[in-house]
């Protein structure tokens, strides 16, 4: 009974699992590159959720086939929206990775704890 429910909603459960995993990585890891990966995982979770909404059981991609009548199409709009979302997350990733490069050039570290220590030391000197 409950197993059926899980199988039915496996897309949504997977999406939320990805979202939470990503959130945990962003909040708890101190490695800056890992945090960027966390953002990506979170984003993937949201995108999977969006695409899963558009899914129709037994549906086919919305391309009209003249030989078959009465086709059941999946909803293409969420997939199209998510194309935009993917582009956005890629650009955010590129920008934040370039920031990490600059941070590494200046501080020779990409560890958040190390960074905070260095910054507070610098502030004490002034």
């Amino acid at each position: 009974m409950w197993l059926d429910k899980i199988v039915e909603n496996i897309n949504y459960i997977g999406a939320i699992a990805l979202f939470v995993i990503g959130l945990r990585i962003v909040v708890t890891h101190s490695n800056l590159i890992k945090r960027i990966m966390g953002i990506n995982i979170m984003g993937t979770g949201v995108f999977l959720f969006f695409v899963a909404i558009g899914n129709v059981t037994g549906g086919v991609p919305p391309i009209i086939n003249p030989n078959v009548d009465d086709q059941l199409f999946i909803n293409p709009i969420p997939s199209v929206l998510i194309l935009t979302g993917i582009v956005v997350v890629v650009s955010i990733t590129v920008y934040s990775l370039s920031l990490v490069v600059r941070i590494y050039e200046n501080y020779k570290t990409i560890d958040q704890k190390e960074l905070s220590r260095l910054i507070s030391e610098e502030n004490d000197e002034h």
Binding site: I39, S91, L99
Partner: protein, 495 residues
């Protein structure tokens, strides 16, 4: 040309300007500046005309490519979006004049062009957020806005800007993804991303899928709360706003965080509507957040030694005021909140720009170094004092009117405790603003001999400061002229 196309032309003007700047690289920089000013002037004129048009002749709808609203993207120009685009264009023009006066301190000469490219894309995305009537389209514009603000923060080649920009990116992205998750849940329950269509079917969706709607509302409030620096989510703001160049601090603090709170207003009052909000008792949650922000923002500001960080924390407290007005979910509350968005925009711009001028010439950011500054830089400190008095809420300034309206709105809903918090927060404002004014004008006359040795300030930097000072007083003296437009905006949200 059709009047319906005017909002699109506003966006296109900004985008074209951002495109043209790199092409003018080999020409003298003055040409770029003048061209940019013409663009801003044109947009200001067209958005004021739109404001007049929507208030007298009716709302403008525009659908891209002629697709009907449920498939395409729809732009709506109503009293709400027209009012705030006009305010943004006006403030941006003032800040632009100031920034052309060579005040882009800390940016290399070859990068001036890039700064203005980012500035125009930033303005474009803010106009888009306000005009659009589509939740997913709002998300796209929000991402453009957050990436350009981060880039504008990290434009200075200084170590600390990179770390604060990185923190800002991470927090911002958490906010955007939470917002997108909320949009997904609403889409799941209603099948639309268009705000008008959602609002028609959300009542039924709330009956059949209550969990979806509740979770979506939670995700959207938290996501936009992170971006608008509402109290527990404010940690990125002081770093980011103090690390940025002064002109961009003014833009970020006075305009950008307001845009996010306006999106929140749109989501609350256009998408979910009052019935659902009352049923879930959202009012209490928002009011508690606002009350904590008003007190804690001011308390943190008192402890700051860096004047720009202090202004950043003061913004956190002021966002609490705005959220208080919104959280009352009443006509008076929204009116006070909208008026405070305008008056805080004016005051914060004045504060950041005058401090920017002081940093530009005196190279100091410490509050303690402001002794006798009133004798050295009378105009900058004069405007700073007017704006600071406005922040405290002294009569004759616009800050007084917004606090008066907030107080009336709070009493109207019988929330006496928030009136106490409002007064307490104002008193805390006194603690950190008044000492600076006293230090600057009354203490330490030993600096007087420097009076003749100061550098002459460019007129392009003085003029916007004086204009802002005058505007703060004028809005404080004649609030009723603007109140008409604000009330129209509130009515368009509540109807």
């Amino acid at each position: 040309m059709n009047i319906e196309q005017l909002p699109i032309i506003n966006l296109l003007l900004f985008l074209l300007m951002a495109l043209v700047i790199p092409l003018l690289k080999r020409k003298p920089f003055k040409i770029t500046l003048i061209l940019g000013f013409i663009v801003l002037g044109l947009v200001l004129i067209s958005s004021s005309y739109l404001l007049w048009h929507v208030n007298n002749k009716g709302v403008i709808h525009y659908t891209f490519g002629g697709h009907e609203a449920r498939f395409g993207i729809e732009f709506i120009v109503d009293p709400f979006s027209a009012l705030f685009t006009t305010i943004i264009a006006g403030l941006a023009a003032i800040i632009y004049i100031y920034s052309s006066g060579d005040a882009t301190e800390g940016i290399e000469k070859t990068e001036y062009g890039r700064y203005y490219v980012l500035l125009f894309i930033l303005l474009m995305s803010m106009f888009g957020i306000l005009y659009t009537n589509d939740l997913f389209n709002t998300y796209v514009f929000i991402e453009i806005l957050s990436i350009t603000t981060c880039a504008i923060i990290s434009i200075k080649r200084k170590k600390d800007t990179y770390t604060s920009a990185f923190r800002y990116v991470m927090m911002n992205e958490l906010g955007s993804l939470s917002y997108l998750f909320g949009v997904a849940l609403i889409y799941m329950a209603t099948g639309f991303t268009n705000i008008t269509l959602i609002s028609e079917s959300i009542q039924n969706a709330f009956v059949s899928y209550p969990v979806n709607i509740v979770v979506a509302l939670g995700f959207m409030i938290i996501g936009l709360g992170i971006k608008a620096a509402i109290f527990p989510f404010h940690i990125w703001l002081p770093d980011a706003h103090s690390a940025a160049p002064s002109t961009s601090s003014a833009i970020l603090s006075a305009i950008v965080i307001k845009v996010y709170i306006l999106v929140l207003v749109k989501v609350l009052f256009r998408v979910f509507k009052l019935d659902i909000l009352n049923e879930m008792n959202i009012s209490t949650i928002l009011l508690v957040l606002a009350g904590v922000a008003m007190i804690m923002g001011s308390v943190f500001a008192i402890a700051q030694k860096d004047v720009k960080r202090m202004l950043g924390y003061s913004s956190v407290a002021q966002m609490g005021y705005i959220l208080l007005g919104i959280g009352l979910l009443s006509f008076e509350g929204l009116r006070a909140a909208f008026f405070h968005i305008l008056s805080h925009g004016l005051m914060k711009t004045a504060l950041f720009l005058s401090v920017g001028e002081i940093i530009f010439y005196k190279k100091t950011r410490k509050v303690n170094d402001f002794d006798g500054m009133g004798f050295i830089m009378p105009v900058a400190m004069g405007v700073f004092s007017i704006a600071a008095l406005g922040m405290i809420g002294i009569p004759l300034t616009s800050g007084f009117i917004s606090k008066l309206n907030l107080g009336v709105a709070v009493l109207d809903q019988n929330q006496i405790i928030f009136l106490v918090i409002l007064i307490l927060s104002s008193l805390l404002n006194v603690i950190y603003y008044l000492p600076i004014i006293i230090l600057a004008f009354l203490k330490n006359e030993k600096y007087r001999y420097r009076l003749k040795s100061i550098e002459p300030t460019p007129r392009t930097m003085i003029a916007p400061l004086v204009l802002l000072g005058v505007l703060i007083v004028v809005v404080g003296l004649f609030p009723n002229q603007i109140m008409v437009f604000i009330e129209a905006a509130v009515n368009s949200l509540l109807s």
